[in-house]
Symmetry: D2
Subunit: 347 residues, 4 copies
């Protein structure tokens, strides 16, 4: 908990997601956004910051982290910078909000978490989908016992468009970059840890994925500690828009959520019955969820409430993602408890 | 009740609806269809009857009615023949299934009902929609108290195509020909009698309706004896298909039924989300309902169970239809208890 | 258009709706809320204003209207004050946003509109539902020709709870207080004026409505200038929540919008399939619509864009509401062009 | 093709499914059901047959197969009898309709198919779901190119209740008994062969499944020859009823079908929005599909049209089911082309 009435925040990384977090923070009366750092900071970012009354704009995040005025940082820079930034920020006593994934190597993530623990600061991971109205309702029903013991968890997650080829190269692959959200969702809605995964994938959309050893379409089977089974399907391109659905089936029934649409209009003509496509992409669909995760992080700092997503949640999702990646490469199921050994063999 | 193991039926009128009833009757093991009469009986009808093992084909319905072998007749001829046929059949001791409406003049219908009462035979009116799975479920919920006291009854009923102009001329108008089904539905789902109607109509589809003093689009407001209000909208042409919906709203909630579709397929493409149009027309939508009304009529004859739709149901729906017609002509609401007077003034 | 970079706004009336508008205005960077007046202004309002940086809090709206610093006023006080306030504000050269209805007497509203015209200021009426994502989509499809010529307009509008009995007394009745939104919607989605109405109503929920000559349940039939027919049903109490639906049916098809729900969750258990009730009431359902009407009003002042809802829209909806009221009292349809005469007869 | 005007059919096995087929056959005018055989034939079956005009009732199917009057047999007896009966019937020159699966051993099924080929008779397998209105629509859209190249096939298939413990013992396990329908569906809707499967299963409903080496909940991942991926989930107990859904997602969009419901009624009360559960079980859901598969089999005999489901379809589904069983036992994916080898190792 900060001992000031307002939380002073510094933004590290001012790309699309960093700017979204900044604007959401600016809507909270208990927050002051005092600084922003970005490797490419320049006139444009200066103007953007000026409009919002953000006084300090720097290229070097170290300047920002060293600033004694700042209570908390939002790490929205590229994934490879997350671990060192977390370590530095923790050492400087800053609370941390970090975008997912923490890193693409489990030991690195563990190191970052250790630094956070040692410093006694707070670390929230940006699994924004946990705050979506639909998925929260699924979890409420599972936790509340409506559907009894969970037996089957099904998650569909498809993007409207594949990312730019430049990004694919550095993305960490579909499991670490895209399905990691779904691995977190699987843990969130089931309330159980994943023990084993089997990943099947294909390059069906664009051969560029194959060039980077990646796939664009994947189905992953999960076995949970509580005995439940799960399946996640991902596609990098659903031409009809962002497809985000979850179903949990159990001994007393099921709860299923489908997509959100921009309106409820149903058009009936001689050709058929039509409705508009789902909300386009994550900014539209998870708009309110981004706001809520930020609000709860700030609440945690000011009121001492529990963080809604902790460092360990980031770690566990990364472990599942790596297991999925290994599973596809090995062509066999992989248990999470054999990962260390498998990783050792590879290196 | 007949004292034979099988009910022997004679069909009067072998148009589309007569043939449907015949084929439904032929599927019932307790029924024998022994004769069919039609003004235009000829080679074609002979062949149709032969295929089905119907032994007697005549032009003159009197021959059929005089046949001592016949227990019950299905009157499926044109509306102007209904009343004399009911009278003759009743006098001959035949049970009667008669298509709606009994007649277009209340006194005529009353006369036919009196003949039925005097003869002690059974008369069922062809309000097939009462047997539709959706509308039955509405009624069950209203009767069962799920929605408390009914406050608002809403009925939408739109045909995919207007009838042939030749038929429009003799149809009796939209209220007697088409909305009469909805007037019966209003009584059926509300469990209450209609006391007043106000009808607004327009010729928006085809001027041919205006030539016959008819309208092709109409909205009728109803006041029920139990205080509830109702509204029915009819259109002779819904290009997206047969539109048949009912909603009853009350003190404890509402029950609403929408259309049936040929399948549940939802197609998602870059253009939007699409599904197939509703089941095309009454033959598709009310297929099972036609079967059930026939089954229950036969059950009533064999087992003495109550008729599901009686002569009085035909009479009441006709009274509402005539009141609606008058209302539109007079441009004011019409109470059902002022009809006699109004009709007297007109003649 | 104001010649200042920011629009300075004064709020008149700080009840629930006034506070909503104030908070929405405060989210717009181009707006400064400088003053608030309320008959009951006191410590509580002072605190509310202080939190929001609103410098001036007064009881007398005249002080606010006289303030040369203020460009525009939001009139959110009780309906009986609207006309004098509009006149005073217009005379003082302020642009005006006024909650519906302007007044309950057509001549009064006409007087207010004349004052606005004379002063050359802008007047927007608070028909917030025009900005709802669903209803906008209906209008787009009608305007865009998707459904051809409109034939039937159906509007359902039911509140979750009746208002407090004290309010019922002064509400102006269901047609002026509640259905007025639907009358505006009818004009908005059809793109046509209403020429005749027939209103049926009943007291089915609470006898207190009858005590004030009011009804709690009503169905109104509309005839439009373009030949289309319409029907609106209102209930003061839908126990399952706020029910707001619109359908426009035409020569080439129909467009229908249903309610918004807090989530898409579908629960399947041994008892049946369940989902959550619609968004509770107008604050939840029309949250974004309130924001957008405010934004567009401010845009109009700053950029000279057209007002999305003008004074005449308020006047026309009131004329229809009064016609509906008369229709129910007289028990017959009322044409809008016979209103003056009818009102003259009454007084 | 038979050279008689009517196809004369003998029923082998008069359990539930045999009786359904018999009644469907009796509704076809081109069919005469002349005999029925059942190991437990007795008074009850005699009475059942008499009611339907089926002249011959025997215990020994050989009598029926030897009957020169019979053109075709329906094999509805227990799975272990299918292969010898097919061989005997084929040798006797009878056309054959056989319930799924042909056998639980691929070599046995191949032997039966060879006998059919040698005799030149027709063999249709009872994959009734291919004739379901929803699944046919999925296939039409996939075949018609609506969704482009298929990328992901998802099939959900859950029974309302587990079978009797006695049956579980002899069922052949979830993959051969229940999911075999879904394996056929996967081939049917994708238009591609399955090349590899990975099966995960659990005993979550009733330990009795474990006693027989079986599971009650399973998720199977499929890889198709055309590169697509698939996933099937099965549960022996969905308390909300029979859950039968299919989705095919591809380069141009997706087509998804959900369950059929007994009506479209939506109940809105203070507790929420409710609808009735899906059609209860396979008899309700696939009622029309059973009729259509029978009709098409008879058409094929009389008109020489192609069989809609051939012997090879039975064989392929069995191969996938066995691969799934092996996969679960081995805890790794199994390619269909390594099955022979794997089976050899086991014995």
């Amino acid at each position: 908990m900060t001992n000031r009435a307002k939380v002073k925040v510094g933004m590290i990384g001012a790309g699309r997601i960093g700017k979204i977090h900044a604007d959401n923070l600016l809507r909270l009366p208990q927050v002051e956004v005092v600084a922003v750092s970005d490797l490419f900071a320049g006139d444009e970012l200066e103007a953007w910051a000026a409009e919002r009354g953000i006084g300090l704009v720097v290229q070097d995040s170290a300047v920002l982290i060293a600033n004694p005025d700042i209570d908390a940082v939002f790490i929205c820079s590229s994934t490879d910078t997350h671990v060192p930034l977390i370590e530095q920020a923790a050492k400087a006593g800053k609370h941390i909000f970090c975008e997912k994934p923490v890193s693409m190597a489990i030991e690195q993530t563990e190191k970052a978490l250790e630094a956070v623990r040692a410093a006694g600061v707070k670390l929230q991971i940006g699994f924004n989908r946990r705050f979506d109205h639909n998925f929260k309702r699924v979890r409420e029903h599972v936790q509340g016992g409506t559907i009894g013991e969970p037996h089957i968890v099904k998650i569909t997650s498809r993007d409207p468009n594949p990312p730019h080829p430049d990004y694919i190269k550095v993305s960490g692959g579909i499991f670490m970059d895209m399905m990691i959200h779904d691995f977190d969702m699987a843990r969130y809605v089931s309330g159980s840890e994943v023990e084993e995964v089997y990943a099947a994938g294909g390059v069906l959309i664009n051969p560029v994925f194959a060039e980077h050893g990646d796939v664009d379409t994947a189905i992953v089977t999960l076995k949970f500690a509580n005995g439940a089974l799960g399946v996640i399907d991902n596609s990098r391109q659903a031409v009809y828009g962002y497809d985000q659905r979850v179903e949990v089936f159990g001994s007393k029934g099921s709860v299923a959520v489908t997509n959100d649409h921009p309106n409820t209009a149903e058009i009936s003509t001689a050709e058929g019955i039509t409705r508009d496509k789902p909300l386009h992409f994550f900014l539209e669909r998870y708009n309110a969820a981004y706001m809520e995760e930020t609000q709860l992080f700030i609440d945690s700092l000011l009121k001492g409430t529990a963080l809604p997503v902790e460092g360990n949640d980031g770690l566990q999702a990364e472990r599942i993602a790596l297991a999925a990646k290994l599973s596809r490469e090995l062509g066999r199921p992989v248990r999470l408890d054999e990962m260390k050994e498998l990783m050792a063999c590879r290196s």
